[in-house]
Symmetry: D2
Subunit: 229 residues, 4 copies
């Protein structure tokens, strides 16, 4: 199996199986624009508004993971994610957006783009269709991809990028620590369902596909953000 | 692994893992009363009314299995079960009940006993919490238990039992054939998720427990029916 | 309230509230191309393959409607839709596709476009998030839009259009009758949840939005089909 | 409409519609035994173990409510409940149980009684079948019933009852405040779906029935606890 991602060999293997899609997502033009500061303000604003709507549905997705958890640890971690998303992540967005004149209720009722809708509803349906691990495969590209992006552009960002605050969130020890904790949980969740050789289990291909589809939907999300409307 | 049930070694192993609960269920006093004709009429009527409500939720459960199917074959078989339950099984109940003066709408709105509620909601939640195979483990005791009961009391039933019609349904080649077809599908569904040695997969204990819990809920259902109210 | 669609004033009002989106969907260039025969073969083939995948998830959606039905009538109609989709609609597609050299298993495993994914997962999540009526609002544009398209282009289609077989399916008395039956059911389902003046219920705006979003996703589906890949 | 419960006329009306079941639940022998200290220790221990399992599924139920929330306020309140249940309520249970020699993992894997299973799975299925308000009707008897019990036996409990700690939790200003906050949210949720005269909406009878069934399942839960095994 390929090298681990955030201590999880399963996550590492899912990334590798996603081939160039994983690279395209984590090295996207939008990401580079955040790092070197060349991203147009309008694109960032558009992204922030859509990402807020994304967080609403991402919270729902982690809540569905609570519903589908099979161990106390899975339940506690997913419940903490729900709380963190609503009370930390969404609040961060609300505050950033307030500075540029957008209220929380406007955010909640903003028009959702179809790239956004496609991604989040795919994640929800992965949970309805499959089990806890199917959800993890669909949720992983967002959580861990942002971690990879944060630790990559964090050290190399231009001194004058106006997006330093955003970068700091995902480059932070706190977020990186969250990724390590979640990576460990995903690894255990995979082994508890697939056995000690996860890639030999017949479900493996389906899980890789879920991860890759979510990764591609992340690419579409960046594209939508770059489009600026 | 233990001997197969309806050609499925997995089903056979689940039965064996349920120990005496499986025997208690398939050899229950209610079943014996059907075979030798000693079952009080009131108990049978009570059973028929509750079983109708059961079928409503059992239909919902197979519909949830359609939602959760991952292959074309799983989807087609589950969809056929939905159709069969609504348009054949439920109709049989409606006709039998009409003879004793109970209308279909009365059946649909009859007061559900808690044994009935417990069983069907457990099956639904098995689907919401887990994947297609978790649902199969929760659905199997009803489908295949009635098959075992039918083929057991079919040949040995008293000539004058008033319950011959009921016995004939489950002893019929049609129902026994349905069990063989479903057994084959369950076996494939298990191997597609657990690998070639299903009992070695870490999910095995949880699946055995789901099957056993559903088996115990079947015993409770018979007890409720015998109670007569 | 606006004029009824398939005897349902609620459906009529939902269409009207969707404004030009409903017109754009039902009078789309793809539809015109089917009628006058100008649609490129490659676009039709692409549509047929994607529509097959759509039907898989549309079946899952109607199965979720069975899970969420609250009356016997709702359950029977939704169950019949599940069966019809799997055993009639999907078979029709399989046969048509077989003629052009595509097998059923290839269809089942074809790469799903994101327009397709977005639409079907939105419908599934409408069911998970809401009740039976929320599902109906999300399912309605497909069912009744195809009915409107069939009865519109049926009488006016060019004599030499190669898509006569497709047109005949939706222009047929059988499909039009299905729409009337479903329209009546949707109307009852709406009144049973919203009261005798559906448009005065506070849920009305949300239901109109679900219907309109699904309508827009239909437009995207036609666009994807026209794109031909 | 009857007098409000925790500022919510809808909750008050649901209680009244539950008739003597509501009274039987909130004045149950188990409750009296907590207040006057006559409850056998074994019954309390049995209750505590089963209540822990109940909390696991109650957390899953509130997580499903997050999935089904339609406003930001509904989402935030339900998410806070998930977090409170996992990180406060369950911890309280774990600590109390640890004092009597039961570990958290033992609690998580204790054998669930069928009364417990029936209640929680009914709540989960209410969410799967219906919308956010259907869930609230199924969740309300537990949340608000414990509030009523707390404020009733709090002031009248025997000075030497060994269950003072339990009583204090539910009689506390904190828990009573939680009930007021949730009562306000339920009232809004009802009006947002049923209109300004909730009892005139055709869904009213179904919602009353969900509330009453959950109330009866609470009575069964007390009975199970009194049985002591």
């Amino acid at each position: 199996m390929s090298s681990a991602l955030y201590t999880s060999p399963v996550l590492g293997a899912w990334c590798q199986a996603s081939g160039e899609d994983w690279t395209t997502y984590t090295n996207h033009g939008f990401v580079k624009g955040l790092g070197d500061g060349s991203l147009p303000t309008a694109c960032f604003h558009h992204y922030m508004i859509q990402d807020y709507i994304f967080l609403v549905h991402f919270t729902r997705a982690w809540a569905l993971a609570v519903v589908k958890s099979e161990t106390l640890e899975e339940m506690k971690i997913a419940a903490t994610m729900v709380d963190t998303l609503v009370n930390v992540e969404m609040q961060l967005h609300v505050e950033t957006c307030r500075k540029i004149g957008i209220t929380e209720n406007q955010l909640f009722s903003a028009e959702e783009t179809f790239e956004n809708l496609a991604y989040t509803r795919f994640v929800m349906d992965s949970g309805l269709a499959g089990d806890f691990l199917d959800m993890m495969a669909a949720l992983a590209p967002c959580v861990f991809g942002y971690g990879v992006i944060g630790r990559t552009i964090g050290p190399s960002a231009a001194a004058d990028t106006p997006y330093q605050e955003w970068i700091d969130v995902y480059a932070s020890e706190e977020y990186q620590g969250l990724c390590h904790g979640l990576g460990s949980m995903v690894e255990k969740a995979a082994r508890a369902r697939l056995g000690s050789k996860p890639a030999d289990n017949p479900r493996w291909a389906t899980l890789c596909k879920r991860f890759r589809t979510a990764t591609r939907l992340e690419i579409d999300f960046w594209q939508m953000a770059l489009r600026g409307h």
